[in-house]
């Protein structure tokens, strides 16, 4: 059962096709990752899901019907570009954002106080937002995202600009919400975060979907011919070897792809015979990063030429 379906979304800005026929489905109760480098079209896709942009074509379906205001009310959205009214007090801020979602009254005020307690901000609830530290402002921002008890949580590059403490805090929140059965959708260009947190992913590059599915399926599919090794010595003899499809250096590990799944043992043998000291040999293991590089080419961290920021 899908909680949310994105069907054939496209969006252009002038001559630039930011999102090109993107489709995916978000299963109930999942942590869903929308993955791609900066400028791949993640934010534009999410903005269309949030009804902030109208798609040129395509639609977003929630339980059988097109999304509208009622969807906005059940979503907690944390955009990449985020901020708060500097002159408002912390409590006022929380109540205002809850009010926009249609939640008012004593119960929401109690909830705001609970969250402030949990995030150790109780003593600052009457302080102006501008007087808080940046880390505490981020905490207030998290609370505004979830205070109305949303069914869906959509986070666009949630970890950008967070300090380590808040990064952990946000991870805890996400896992906590997952336990409560909420659907969490987040976009990120950080592959290792996605890898650790997501059950399902959709990978997009240059506005197009290049990979789609559950994390375990994807991994087992791409892992069969892949070996990740750490070693000392010179492996240049492998270049041109008929069993090798390609070798990629990822810095702290090297990924080797063999042509057939059953050639993994042959590779190990060849390495040992050539006196290479193996410190780690991980067969059938592939990182999301490796899959992405294999599919999209180039470095994930590098800024794309097709940078479409905030359009």
């Amino acid at each position: 059962m899908f909680a949310l379906e994105v069907r054939n979304l496209s969006k252009s800005f002038g001559s630039l096709k930011a999102v090109d026929d993107v489709s995916f489905a978000v299963p109930e109760g999942s942590v869903f990752g929308l993955i791609g480098r900066n400028g791949a079209g993640k934010t534009t896709t999410i903005r269309m899901m949030m009804n902030i942009y109208l798609p040129d074509s395509g639609e977003v379906i929630l339980k059988g019907s097109k999304i509208g205001q009622e969807f906005k009310n059940m979503v907690g959205y944390l955009p990449e570009e985020r901020g708060l009214y500097k002159k408002m007090s912390v409590l006022e801020t929380l109540l205002f954002f809850a009010e926009l979602k249609g939640k008012t009254g004593k119960s929401i005020e109690r909830k705001a106080n609970e969250y402030l307690e949990r995030f150790e901000l109780s003593d600052r609830k009457n302080a102006k937002v501008e007087d808080l530290s940046k880390g505490n402002q981020q905490k207030v921002q998290f609370i505004t995202t979830i205070i109305h008890d949303p069914e869906f949580i959509i986070l666009d590059e949630p970890f950008s600009g967070l300090d380590p403490i808040n990064t952990n805090l946000l991870k805890e929140i996400i896992l906590d919400l997952k336990k409560q059965g909420k659907v969490i959708i987040f976009s990120t260009h950080l592959m290792d975060f996605a890898e650790r947190m997501c059950d399902h992913i959709t990978m997009i590059d240059k506005g197009k979907v290049i990979l789609n599915g559950s994390m375990t399926e994807i991994k087992s599919k791409y892992a069969q011919q892949n070996v990740s090794i750490n070693y000392r010595g010179d492996i240049s003899f492998l270049n041109g070897n008929p069993i090798i499809e390609k070798i990629e250096d990822y810095g702290n590990s090297t990924g080797i792809k063999v042509k057939q799944p059953d050639q993994v043992q042959e590779l190990l043998k060849a390495l040992v015979e050539n006196n290479i000291t193996i410190t780690k040999f991980n067969a059938n293991e592939i990182s999301l990063q490796e899959i992405f590089v294999g599919l999209a080419g180039g470095e994930i961290e590098g800024a794309s030429k097709l940078e479409v920021k905030n359009v």
Partner: protein
């Protein structure tokens, strides 16, 4: 467009604005500013009347000299010692010859001016004035009446006219203004309505600029603080824009109502008695018309200013690009001031029913002349039509603009935004 989310935004805007120090100060200070301006003007006028001068009056005959001596000695400025006048008698030829020797005195501080009254003045009233500043109107105004009287007295001396007749001949014409209006009795008019016209013009101008820049800043701030996308996850851009504009509009109209409160009290109660020359002829209905007319105009301008705020992402760019809007306020402002001289003129009449201009010019004109009902109605219709015409465009630009950042967009790009499917 209007729902509980819009209401939440309006509430927040009001909390932020009405409780802000700037708003309270502005609202309270403007009336004081007015009183201050009037006092300052009065001071300037009294300063001017205290100006000292030392004059020499030289006339072609003893008869004129002694008449002048007698007449000027009772002049208030001479009695108070501000003007010091010395007298001499000299024929025209002798005066012309001695003029070069007086040049130094006139160039220095000692002598302000030299008045020569030739004998011929008794028949043609032409006299000469020599000074560094030969066009000193305030000095002329003070002496004119007395000089006229002296010359007329001598001219008619021995012609068997009574003092009464001569005093009539020397009297200046006094215009007494009466306002003619459709229904009311004909009433003598003081300067009250002229002052009122100026006050309307000034307050409307001030409030449009003040509220306009305030909403522009507020939109810019939401963009800069990156709140806008957080807001858009709960409300759509139309609700946001409507809420912000209505919030600022209510603030503006409340401020205007507070400013006009003294006027409303003067009309509807007998607590205040204005000096006879400053009585105000205006009805309560007209004051409410001013408020209504202003509210429609304010909403229109707030929409435009909010749009400008949404296009740019820093104060400087926005400030330097809002001149077309400032023109839409400044030109009507100048028209409204200029119609004080001739409120029935073509420009004033057209401007009082012209898009944008009607907001300021109609109230200014209304205070000066009686306006037919159809013109009142037309001005409101034009204002509403302007508002209705502008909002779809403003809303589209706003919707695109608030999520744009980065380099300053060009105007043709902004026009292209209108075609975006957002």
């Amino acid at each position: 467009m209007f729902n509980r989310r819009t209401l939440s935004i309006i509430k927040r805007e009001l909390r932020e604005k009405v409780l802000s120090r700037g708003f309270v100060l502005m609202t309270l200070l403007v009336p004081f500013l007015f009183i201050g301006l009037i006092l300052f003007q009065m001071y300037l006028m009294s300063y001017d009347s205290n100006a000292t001068a030392s004059l020499e009056i030289i006339s072609g005959s003893e008869q004129i000299t002694s008449a002048a001596q007698k007449e000027f000695s009772s002049l208030p400025v001479v009695e108070s010692g501000s003007y010091k006048i010395s007298y001499a008698t000299m024929s025209k030829e002798k005066f012309d010859a001695s003029l070069p020797s007086l040049q130094n005195e006139l160039m220095g501080e000692k002598l302000t001016g030299l008045i020569y009254i030739p004998d011929s003045a008794v028949n043609d009233k032409r006299i000469d004035y020599y000074s560094k500043n030969p066009n000193n109107n305030s000095l002329f105004d003070k002496l004119k009446g007395s000089l006229n009287k002296i010359l007329v007295n001598i001219h008619f001396a021995g012609k068997e006219l009574s003092d009464k007749e001569i005093s009539y001949a020397t009297k200046a014409v006094d215009f007494n203004g009466f306002r003619i209006s459709g229904s009311k009795n004909i009433k003598a008019e003081g300067q009250g309505n002229q002052a009122l016209s100026f006050i309307f013009t000034f307050l409307l101008y001030l409030s449009l600029i003040f509220s306009g820049t305030m909403i522009m800043r507020s939109v810019l701030q939401e963009k800069n603080n990156k709140i806008v996308e957080v807001l858009l996850s709960s409300v759509d851009s139309k609700e946001l824009m409507t809420g912000k504009i209505l919030g600022a509009g209510i603030t503006g109209i409340a401020q205007m109502a507070i400013w006009l409160l003294p006027l409303i009290m003067i009309i509807s109660t007998s607590w205040f008695v204005l000096p006879k020359d400053f009585t105000i002829d205006i009805t309560l209905f007209q004051v409410f018309y001013v408020l209504l007319n202003f509210f429609i105009g304010l909403i229109t301008f707030l929409g435009l200013f909010a749009t400008v705020g949404s296009i740019f992402d820093n104060d400087q760019d926005a400030q330097s690009s809002m001149w077309p809007l400032m023109m839409l306020i400044l030109i009507p402002f100048y028209i409204a001031i200029s119609i004080q001289n001739n409120p029935e003129g073509m420009i004033g009449m057209v401007a009082s029913m012209f898009p944008f201009a009607a907001i300021i010019v109609m109230p200014a004109r209304m205070a000066l002349v009686d306006i037919p009902v159809w013109q009142f109605v037309l001005a409101v219709v034009v204002n509403i039509a302007t508002m209705v015409g502008i909002f779809p465009l403003a809303g589209k630009i706003y919707r695109v603009g608030i999520l744009m950042s980065g380099k300053k967009p060009k105007w043709n790009e902004v026009v292209r935004w209108l075609k975006y499917k957002y």
